[in-house]
Symmetry: none
């Protein structure tokens, strides 16, 4: 706590004064463009990964980045989704899973949780579609590989769940809603995005297109505090992912099983 | 989305390589010290406010930073709390409300939400203790002041709700659990902490104690990636809050009504 | 039933006529001062224990004297609490547990109830905070001692739950609400009250103060029918509890574990 | 509270020592013969009305003496019923309504409660069968009379609800379960019992049969502490209800409407 308070003081004495105008402007209201749904895991920092500024991401975080189907739960997820879409007019949603996810590990040994962590057990029922898919289709897969596949498939499950919400359904009907599924690898920093046409997770296309032109460090956030601007001092390095490459965290065979295995 | 992908690329090409070791280490598991519960509002960036590094905060975010009483909801809140306390052994919880909160605005005109945003309406039932307290005790208060009071009282309500969780109750019994209530002012960057003994929100004591010695900018995060290290380039400035001062965002009279009014 | 009808006749032919005025007065409305929440157990007679008259106690009784957290159940508890506090203006609540409690016994072997008494099983989920605290902190305790500790800790759990109710929270805010936790020993007739400052159960202070002066048997209820007046015919005896003494139903060591063990 | 503590002291110093043996015996377990379900109203003291001793009545008390149909609620009622019937082997249930009932008043102006006492509002849904019956069949009845009828009909509603419980249904099948509906008049002390054959509330037959022989004041509880024995000092008086008489609290016409009106 002492450390957080030190950090708080530092924020107030350096970052805040340097960006005071932006904060004052934001005090009147928020206009985020993206609803970012991800895991509570401490290793996921959405603003860091996306180099987003204050005011840019409306964030829902829970264990396992789950979105219970409409009507299935009365927790905060539905309300935050409804508020984001209806009250704020957000038209882009990202559901972001991640490697080494504790919730997904729990899903793979669900019965053990029943007495020890009953609330987690109940909550993971909202990932039952994932669990059953894995159980019925990946009987021979194990360990790290199984966990990676489960995590990836779960993002797809939650995309489907998200589509059951009235506010989402209506916007989809108007072609005013885009839902993205991301998987983030903690160890490598890589992100793959779900491609519904191929039912694959792939290196985001825009990322590919921009990978060469963005290393100059001149990218500037114009409408939000430049949280990440400082990172430019770190010397630009060769991207760890060659465009088109597989993610480093899984061998090609495994990747094939994951991304092509669940083609519908 | 294009912007996020650019940010993602930047993260991967500069920040990540510079902190690769830390990410590799974290890939094996997380050991956060703090459960940080706050609003989905895009203007709240927990890691920025607390200058925390990757791996330090286990985060729950929903509309209004609510914690339904144990058993009252089957959303992600209970599961994430249970996982944080039981599986990760976290012993410190921060519930952080904020100024200009849309959920609290909704709470003050609840009936209007019933048909337009039914999920938000239902969700706000978990802040009914806040709503009733306000209705019965602040009949003459209005506008910004009423909203500020509502937000502050709601943090206290959610602290009470949090205490009903089995994993919390057990740890409290062992003297191994600390629950903090924070209110964050977007416009000024200030944070006040709840003091249960006085039933007041106050400038955190540690912050007061350290306010003079910490301006040197040499504070270094030792056990987590230095997300905020770059902020040091901003020249250290005089803290905006003179220790002991009232928060700038409310006149003394108002502050008195808020923070002394609810003394038990 | 025959016996009850005989009793009914007796009530009507002797007690009622002797107190007719009071009943006629009460027929217009009730003004109880205390909400008394206790177990359905047949051995608990609130009016006998407290020597209260008709019209003095608003009573909620269920198995295990549980108070589900606000929103966690839709049974009669919340409605009765709301009515007592809001409609009747009651400002004092007593939650009274007792020795040899069947519900607490059930809580200690919960799984066995799942199929045999599913409603009891479900109901006891509202004492899950108690169960988990006991499981995690009293692994070496057994038998009678464990049951006594469980019962006492459960009273504290239910006090926490009670605080989540809107009507309670609002009154607490106004300093117009007192919540007392009692544990009653069937075998000895003794009552201990929870002291939140020490996190102990203690002989009620007022009881200590009055123990010597009240043996004269002249105490008279002034504002309610003298149900217990007749008990005066029983010759006053030495109190079974010497002021300050431990309750007779547990050895000092055990008491220490119970009442000091849970200090926060 | 001071008064209760005085009462407590008195109980401990006089009543308890005089009945110590009985309490010690009861400490080992309870064997109540009757499940008594009544209102939380402070003017109802089941043990006084029935002159029952400690250990004789297993008691459920909530606002309006409601029994939600099986599966309709997850409050304490179902669990206490299940425990009483299955664990304790109780074979007699009394549901006791009473005159001037606040819950029944609320039922007659239900909409007004929706915002002011939402929990009471929700709870009274379990008396909706009563409300509708009254609305559709007693349009011309008003005031006190309407309230009395509502209360009486509600007891019948709750008897029906009680029959939906698995443990009750099974015992009824075995002819090992008797359910009694009582209505108690606070002003007169009279009790009428529901007769399903006539669909009337009547003076209990046993009471009639025993009314002459019981005035001698020699009735003694043999298997429980003689709580009411002391009342014998009140000179026996002529019973207020001549056997066969109507209850004094309603004129014959009204009684006819109540007790014959709902004949099915």
């Amino acid at each position: 706590m002492r450390k957080l308070l030190k950090g708080l003081h530092k924020f107030q004495s350096s970052y805040f004064p340097a960006n005071q105008e932006i904060f004052e402007q934001l005090a009147e209201g928020q206009k985020p463009r993206v609803l970012f749904i991800t895991c509570s895991d401490s290793r996921i920092v959405p603003h860091l990964i996306t180099q987003s500024g204050v005011g840019e991401l409306f964030v829902i975080r829970n264990a396992g980045n789950l979105v219970p189907p409409f009507g299935a739960a009365n927790g905060g997820e539905g309300a935050a989704i409804e508020y984001a879409i209806h009250a704020l007019g957000i038209e882009q949603v990202i559901i972001c899973g991640h490697s080494n996810c504790g919730a997904m590990k729990g899903l793979l040994k669900l019965e053990k949780l029943r007495t020890e962590m009953p609330l987690v057990y109940e909550w993971l029922q909202h990932a039952e579609s994932t669990r059953r898919l894995i159980q019925e289709n990946y009987a021979d897969t194990k360990g790290e590989e199984l966990l990676a596949i489960t995590m990836a498939e779960n993002v797809v499950t939650q995309i489907e769940n998200l589509k059951t919400y009235p506010v989402i359904r209506s916007k989809l009907h108007q072609n005013k809603m885009a839902i993205y599924g991301w998987i983030y690898d903690i160890e490598t920093g890589e992100v793959l995005a779900y491609n519904p046409e191929t039912d694959d997770f792939e290196v985001p296309q825009t990322l590919l297109a921009n990978s060469s032109s963005d290393n100059n460090g001149h990218f500037v956030h114009t409408d939000a505090p430049p949280i990440p601007s400082a990172y430019q001092k770190t010397a630009p390095q060769t991207p760890t992912n060659n465009p088109g490459d597989l993610p480093s965290w899984m061998p090609r065979e495994q990747a094939d099983r994951i991304y092509r295995g669940s083609a519908r």
